[in-house]
């Protein structure tokens, strides 16, 4: 098992940072009027870990005895949608975005089913059951609206814990019905502490410079940092000497794509870039991440005067990637515009 999962804290007391938040969670769990909550914060900051710990605090260790069910829904056009549900006796965990456009169906069906039955276990500490909704920010608007009424109507039987990376895509009525809990990214010192504790448990020495290097590289993502630590450990077990932190495959590929944009600007090259973009998309890399990584790398290499327009285009097409349906068109348009800018700049012409 990887370090990340092996040394994941199991209870709120074990958590390493954001102590004030942890304390508040402990006191919340002690009361019977536990509210609906919305955990938000960047990836790898510890949202899910806190949710799991919170559940344990609410009901005891039995919540960590999980099982997975696969439920099949029929959409209006009779096509099957598989949704995986992780559940314990006290709670249930959904990722409705698995169902794509039909997440509303999932929300309505499952929540009603759960909400309409009472807690069976008489020994349970609380009368309500908990539904954890992952990736709440990728819920469609319809699905979010479907949540609104349920949240009030079945308050007696049901508490929702939403988990999202940002609140911006959660509609205001839901935000106002939830207790918002921000789980910020850990600071570098906090991350170093965590890495050290991992190293201590694994009984190896972690040099300071390696720790800082990892922390800087991972940009506040503790999951990434821990995985990188493990990868480095595999490279050289004693973590000595100069260690190069390997970039993940998709990032390397994105950089390669950016390089080919920079080295030549022509429709023929655009075609090559298109096939690279397809390659990234096919390998399940989200378009928004591609645009972000490309832009990051392009900005390092272009003239100062081009930076603002490129960022503007990136923002424009990033939004389109989110709202549109065929992302490749928007990615390609972005690359085409950047190429045109670069080429015009090199030929000393005005681009629009």
């Amino acid at each position: 098992m990887l370090f990340v999962d092996k040394y994941r804290p199991k209870s709120l007391e074990e958590l390493d940072y954001h102590q004030s938040l942890n304390e508040r969670l402990i006191s919340l769990a002690a009361h019977d009027d536990f509210p609906h909550t919305l955990f938000y914060g960047p990836s790898g900051a510890g949202k899910k870990t806190r949710i799991t710990c919170l559940l344990r605090q609410l009901y005891g260790p039995a919540t960590q005895k999980l099982k997975i069910d696969q439920r099949v829904f029929l959409n209006p056009s009779k096509r099957k949608i598989d949704v995986n549900i992780v559940s314990s006796n006290y709670h249930i965990e959904l990722t409705p975005s698995d169902a794509g456009a039909y997440d509303r169906l999932v929300i309505q069906d499952i929540l009603k089913e759960i909400a309409q039955t009472q807690q069976v276990d008489l020994n349970a500490k609380h009368r309500f059951k908990v539904v954890v909704i992952n990736e709440a920010d990728s819920l469609s608007r319809d699905a979010q609206s479907a949540l609104r009424r349920t949240m009030e109507k079945y308050m007696g039987n049901l508490r929702l814990i939403l988990c999202a990376t940002s609140t911006s895509k959660i509609i205001a009525p839901i935000r106002s019905r939830c207790l918002l809990l921000r789980v910020g990214a850990p600071t570098e010192e906090e991350m170093t502490t965590v890495l050290r504790s991992v190293a201590r448990k694994e009984k190896f020495h972690l040099p300071d410079e390696v720790a800082t290097q990892i922390c800087q590289d991972s940009g506040g993502n503790l999951r990434k940092a821990t995985l990188v630590l493990e990868a480095l450990r595999m490279q050289s077990p004693d973590l000595s000497g100069s260690l190069a932190i390997a970039k993940p495959d998709w990032e390397t590929y994105c950089i390669k794509t950016a390089e080919s944009i920079l080295s030549e600007q022509s429709p023929a090259r655009l075609l090559e870039v298109r096939s690279k973009l397809y390659e990234l998309l096919v390998h399940a890399i989200p378009a928004t991440l591609i645009i972000k990584t490309l832009t990051d790398h392009l900005l390092k290499r272009v003239d100062e005067s081009l930076k603002a327009p490129i960022v503007e285009k990136a923002a424009f097409y990033e939004l389109r990637c989110r709202t549109g349906s065929k992302v490749i068109f928007h990615l390609e348009a972005f690359v085409a515009q950047v190429m045109h800018m670069l080429k015009s700049f090199m030929m000393d012409m005005d681009f629009d």
């Binding site: 696969q70 390397t252 390998h283 549109g324 065929k326 068109f329 348009a333």
Partner: protein
């Protein structure tokens, strides 16, 4: 003969562009990033050039016309401004482009003068000045200046005299060559006498070897207009100083035979200078009796246009010259074979201008005696035929024909009236006549056409060419009573059997009727039959759905029928028709020749007092693809409102009735991006272009998105040098890409939750028409490729599913979402899955399997993880490094041991759900899990304790239940 002051910088560039090319040509092209253009020293000031026009390429013609009416490109340009790209277009590029297009809108007589004015002047000084002054201005100034400039242009347009004068002064100042001065002299004349001038022009163009038959050849070859000369490099030897830019052209001068690809590309590339010449209006039928052949590329007319033009005036257009050809219109790059033929047969040749002139000058009365006679004869014949046809024969009594369809009213009444397919008709007649005898000898004697061994015939052929009519008519003339069953009758197996079986097998009929006088009777089945009956099964390929087994039943009947059966279908190749192959004689009806149909239809028109000229009728027939019925129906509807039809009306009617279909995504895209589609000579309206999208609105946008980068845009070809051209190309591509992106946003609104289907036209424009309006031009690969989006998308869906599957399995041990799994876990896991096998060989197998078990991954998930890796982690490449023996032993080992599974697959909702829950509770391990003190990750299926020794036992213990679970899963 060599053109003296040819634009030495860029000979085959369209007007105005030479300025850019010379400008950039003068610079070292290898240093594009330097600020060269702007820092160049101030040049000598231009003559009387208004400041407002500084950035414009200095052809004065341009100023005059850049303000002319809005072209489609202008429409799209303004649209692009709306959609977010900033209004200040790169002035140099866009102006030259737009102005260019507008300029080509032929302003009557003036269009002829353009080439000369453009060539003689030297644009460099003004150009430099322009840039110099521009660098001092801010961006706002630029846009403002553009506006001002436009105003300026309006001014110059309104009072042409100054322009004319300026042009003259410039010309005389910059060039001293005799040719230009003489041509300027000509011009002054030309402005007064248009026709006269054009003749002069024609003569200049005339090549030495050209007889130039009808037109007076007085002022032969005084001076050669430069553009003309460069556009016909084959005839005149090009001077060596042609710039690199024209290398393609130069290659053409070599007597190398072009490949098929090249010819195709050349054909699709169209005329060099579309629409540069005014198309004259001639007297109707002025070319009647002439046979014209077109060869090579004309300068202003495309092949289709020119053929249509000739036909409009009554000429006959053939493909290859022969002794009967009256004229050959020779363009550039004419086929050498045709030229030989022309020489051999001594056929008169015409240039494009002479051809246009012929139309202009030749009166309708100039038809020679022979043709006149021929026409008169034709007319007489038409009248004769018209007399014969019409109302049904008197024998059946007076019938009111007013309500009758023309197709019925004028249906042929004699076998000789049938149009076309004479041999087939004869064969059918012979077969039917010989049928009783064939039956006697049990179909052993093949007969003259080898058809007499069959009990039935299968007539196939396109719609509206007289198959059914012929079958009925022949049956009647041979003394049979036809019984027709067509698609309007139910023809299932049961019905066919019950209705027809006894009828057909009734051998006693003959004897029964032969004695009595009764020749008609109603049999119990309800089908009327006489003693000699023929069964006509019409539209047999239309048997589907409700007619289950019908084809088989008919075929079974055919095998033992005692009466002849005629089956009729459209498509013999249809798989449904296969049973008939062995049992029926095949008669394939072909489309009748146009002249044959024409004479028949002219008779009908005459009888109905509808005035249609012959060429209009011909055009109508061609547009209906020789479907007689369709043309008759068209005419009958037309007669309701009009009494005559002109060429254009006929064309429109033909187009509006054109048969749909025949379009594949490939042809649709090819048409959209054809080099003419958006040229200003194109007669296609925006609606016509959007219609192409509506032909297949799902695939066409994808075709555009796939192929727009693979075209060689016409708009970019006008740029002066290679660099500017590639920049322009890129600009066009980026605009197209932007528009495609817009289109997707609209698509989302159509197919999203709101379903705004009324946005379809807008989607068509944004996703299809507008991108094509930028990048239209010949395809680089010759043929458009099929959208790769479809394949890539399904692959993406598959792999995304795989990620979700992996994440679900890993969910019990890790917390990340599927994105986290893909972006962080997979790169970290990748080496753990493969590297032990590479490094340690079969010793690594244990490690990999235990790692997989930690995360509940199956061997399929492992494959998916390997497939999900990108380039440095490329799964296939990595797996290749693993020895085959290790791979097989890995698989064997994995399959031999049992593994924890995270969950059971759900099967169905409802009942299945309950069952599945039961299956979950069946797993006994649930109870075995130590609850409080379990430090390991708890899971429902398997338990692993820390210590290795007990592991084997523990894994083995749940094996029975696991395999049970597995079986359930399957």
């Amino acid at each position: 003969m060599a053109p003296p002051k040819k634009s030495s910088s860029a000979p085959n560039l369209p007007k105005g562009q030479s300025s850019l090319s010379t400008f950039f040509g003068a610079k070292p092209s290898s240093a594009p990033s330097t600020k060269q253009p702007r820092s160049s020293p101030p040049p000598p000031p231009p003559k009387s050039q208004p400041k407002g026009t500084i950035r414009q390429p200095p052809s004065p013609k341009k100023e005059a016309y850049s303000q002319s009416s809005a072209t489609s490109s202008r429409y799209f340009k303004s649209k692009s401004d709306l959609t977010g790209s900033k209004a200040s277009e790169p002035v140099v590029i866009d102006d030259s482009d737009d102005g260019d297009e507008e300029e080509r809108q032929p302003p009557k007589s003036k269009s002829k003068t353009r080439p000369k004015t453009q060539v003689v002047e030297n644009p460099i000084p003004k150009r430099k000045k322009a840039i110099e002054s521009d660098s001092e201005l801010s961006d706002e100034d630029v846009s403002e200046r553009t506006k001002r400039k436009k105003k300026n242009n309006g001014g110059t347009q309104s009072n042409p005299p100054p322009v004319q004068q300026k042009r003259k002064t410039e010309q005389t100042a910059s060039s001293s060559s005799s040719s230009s001065s003489s041509s300027s002299g000509q011009r002054s004349r030309s402005s007064k006498k248009v026709i006269n001038y054009v003749e002069d022009e024609d003569d200049e163009d005339g090549n030495e070897d050209e007889p130039a038959p009808k037109i007076k050849a007085t002022q032969v070859k005084k001076a050669a207009p430069p553009i003309k000369a460069s556009s016909a490099p084959k005839k005149k030897e090009e001077p060596a100083e042609v710039k690199a830019q024209v290398t393609e052209k130069a290659e053409d001068t070599k007597p190398k035979k072009p490949t098929f690809r090249e010819l195709q590309a050349r054909k699709s590339a169209g005329p060099i200078n579309p629409g540069s010449k005014e198309v004259p209006v001639g007297a109707p039928n002025c070319l009647a009796g002439l046979t014209i052949v077109f060869t090579g590329e004309l300068e202003s007319l495309g092949r289709e246009e020119s053929v249509e033009l000739a036909k409009r005036y009554g000429a006959k257009v053939t493909g290859a010259p022969s002794s009967k050809t009256s004229y050959v219109v020779v363009g550039e790059n004419a086929g050498p074979k045709k030229l030989d033929q022309i020489k051999k047969n001594k056929i008169a040749t015409l240039t494009e201008d002479e051809f246009l002139d012929l139309i202009r000058t030749r009166g309708a009365g100039q038809i020679d005696e022979k043709t006149k006679k021929k026409l008169a004869e034709e007319e007489k014949k038409i009248k004769e035929v018209a007399k014969e046809m019409g109302a049904p024969a008197a024998s059946s009594g007076p019938v009111d024909t007013t309500g009758m369809l023309w197709t019925v009213k004028y249906a042929p009444r004699n076998v000789k009236d049938l149009v076309g397919n004479k041999t087939n008709i004869e064969k059918l007649q012979q077969w039917l006549r010989a049928w009783p005898k064939s039956l006697e000898c049990n179909f052993k004697k093949p007969g003259p056409h080898a058809t007499n061994t069959f009990r039935a015939v299968l007539i196939s052929g396109g719609p509206g060419i007289g198959k059914t009519t012929a079958a009925h008519l022949i049956a009647k003339t041979e003394g049979y009573t036809p019984i027709e069953l067509n698609a309007s009758d139910a023809r299932s197996k049961k019905l066919v059997e019950s209705y027809l079986k006894d009828t057909i097998n009734n051998t006693s009929l003959d004897g029964w009727y032969s004695g009595g006088k009764v020749d008609r009777s109603v049999v119990a089945s309800g089908v009327q039959i006489s003693d000699r009956t023929v069964l006509i099964m019409d539209e047999v390929d239309g048997m589907s759905g409700g007619d289950r087994g019908g084809v088989g039943a008919i075929n079974a009947l055919i095998k033992k029928t005692k009466i002849p059966i005629i089956c009729i279908c459209n498509d013999r190749k249809n798989p449904k028709m296969r049973p008939f192959e062995s049992t029926c004689a095949n008669l394939t009806w072909r489309k009748p020749e146009t002249p044959a149909i024409k004479s028949r239809l002219m008779s009908i028109a005459f009888r109905e007092k509808l005035k249609i000229p012959g060429e209009v009728m011909q055009q109508l027939i061609e547009s209906a693809q020789n479907d007689i019925r369709s043309v008759i129906n068209m005419l009958s509807t037309w007669k309701l409102s009009n009494d005559s039809m002109s060429f254009d009306e006929g064309k429109e009617l033909g187009n509006s009735n054109a048969k749909p279909g025949m379009h594949t995504p490939f042809t649709l895209y090819s048409e959209l991006s054809s080099p003419y589609m958006f040229s200003h000579t194109s007669k296609k309206t925006l609606n016509d272009k959007t219609d192409l999208y509506f032909q297949d609105h799902a695939i066409v946008p994808l075709m555009v998105a796939e192929n727009y980068l693979k075209s060689r845009p016409v708009l970019a070809q006008k740029e002066g040098n290679e660099q500017l051209r590639s920049l322009k190309h890129l600009e066009l591509a980026s605009k197209a890409a932007e528009s495609i992106s817009d289109g997707d946003m609209i698509d989302k609104m159509i197919h999203g939750p709101q379903q705004h289907w009324s946005l379809m036209p807008l989607h068509g424009i944004a996703s299809t028409v507008r991108p094509c309006s930028y990048t239209y031009g010949p395809n680089m690969n010759g043929f458009p490729s099929f959208p790769s989006w479809l394949g890539q998308n399904s692959k993406q869906t598959r792999l995304s599913r795989a990620v979700v599957d992996i994440q679900t399995r890993m969910r019990l041990s890790c917390s990340g979402s599927r994105h986290d799994v893909r972006q962080h876990y997979l790169p970290a896991m990748f080496p753990l899955m493969v590297e032990p096998l590479i490094k340690d060989g079969s010793d690594g197998i244990e490690d990999v399997i235990s790692f997989m078990d930690d995360y509940y991954l199956t061997i399929e998930d492992r494959d998916a993880i390997l497939e999900l890796g990108l380039e440095p982690n490329n799964g296939e490449a990595m797996v290749k490094k693993v020895a085959t023996a290790v791979k097989t032993s890995f698989t064997r080992k994995y399959n031999s041991t049992s593994h924890p599974i995270a969950f059971n697959k759900g099967i169905e909702t409802g009942g299945a759900k309950a069952k599945q829950l039961k299956a979950d509770t069946d797993v006994p391990d649930l109870e075995d899990v130590p609850e409080e003190d379990d430090q390991d990750v708890p899971d429902d299926v398997s338990v692993e304790s820390e210590d290795d020794l007990s592991k084997d036992k523990l894994v083995k213990r749940p094996k029975t239940s696991l395999s049970k679970g597995k079986r359930k899963k399957v």
